[in-house]
Symmetry: C2
Subunit: 154 residues, 2 copies
DNA sequence: AAATTGTATACCTGGTTAGTATTGAATGCG
DNA sequence: CGCATTCAATACTAACCAGGTATACAATTT
């Protein structure tokens, strides 16, 4: 578990492809095609990405979407947050916690610390970095190399 | 988002309290009381924790639950996994991916790398470490101190 | 045997997520 | 101008699953 929603996952995938094409524009149809995602779903995701200003849209003939910034300057954290909202491991990590127990819970002020670290990792991983990961011999991208140093043994 | 399920959250909370009491035993009623969780919910969670061998149970009068190991030797990753199963950010991080697109998706072999790093962070944070986190001036526990060194500025 | 305490199973149900359909608005072109 | 192209906005539906509950059972101690 510890899931990232499907739509957010799709968002990252789309951004990845837009990054590969940049600075060219891609129409929604094309995006649906190269990502193998159903077109109506792409529509929904694009709205989030535009609202978050991660992509720039242009209408009319020869319109489409374009990644707003170079892939190296778009973090996974931003991408996920664009679709799913603020990254919060637990309820009490949110700005306004809605947890019933909150004031009586010992951990209410502990989780945010853990959350911060996890988010930090995601903030330090850009779309460009993502390209360098591989399943079997995972390449650790430069921004994370220092972070990983003590645990390189796996 | 990037949520940890509520039940897993409860699991950690329960383990935290068991840790504080160790090596004393705590009956389910008592656990429900000090955690402020509904008793039937506690029942369900305990089953997971016992199955994962994180806690030891004893029946009969003066029975209850006991943390199997010192808090410093129980990681958040274990705790969460005990309740929710393997930690997988996306479908393609699981042992058997069920994602429709998987073989045609550019990122199918990239996510596992990211996943590994996040999991590593959670593996390096123990219940004991958790006690040292605070909301406003979060204390970084020793095992993570090295990891955090480059990003201490927040 | 009786009291205490955990175990197992089965069920319900509300909310969220993923996915779809429809209609509308902006842009560019000839 | 008016038409083709393309994105925007809204509203809806369906499926699923996490969270929560109830009940009956088994083990241990005294
Ligand atoms: S307050 Fe306690 S119970 Fe509520 S979300 Fe935070 S940790 Fe979980
Ligand atoms: S394969 Fe591609 S789409 Fe399927 S889960 Fe992994 S990343 Fe998301």
């Amino acid at each position: 578990m510890l899931k990232v929603g499907r739509l957010a996952d799709y968002g990252v995938l789309i951004l990845h492809h837009l990054g590969r094409m940049r600075p060219a524009r891609l129409a929604m149809d094309s995006i649906a095609e190269i990502t193998h995602l159903p077109l109506p779903t792409v529509r929904k995701v694009m709205k989030y990405l535009v609202d978050a200003e991660l992509v720039i849209s242009k209408r009319g003939p020869n319109g489409g979407y374009q990644l707003a910034r170079p892939p190296a300057q778009v973090s996974l954290a931003e991408a996920i947050a664009a679709v799913e909202g603020p990254l919060t491991l637990t309820e009490c990590c949110a700005a306004r916690s809605t947890c019933e127990i909150h004031d009586r819970c010992d951990l209410a002020d502990r989780w945010p610390g853990v959350n911060a670290i996890v988010v930090k990792v995601l903030e330090r991983t850009s779309l460009a970095d993502l390209d360098r990961f591989g399943r079997h011999e995972p390449h650790v991208p430069p921004p994370l190399r220092e972070l990983m140093a003590p645990i390189r043994h796996l």
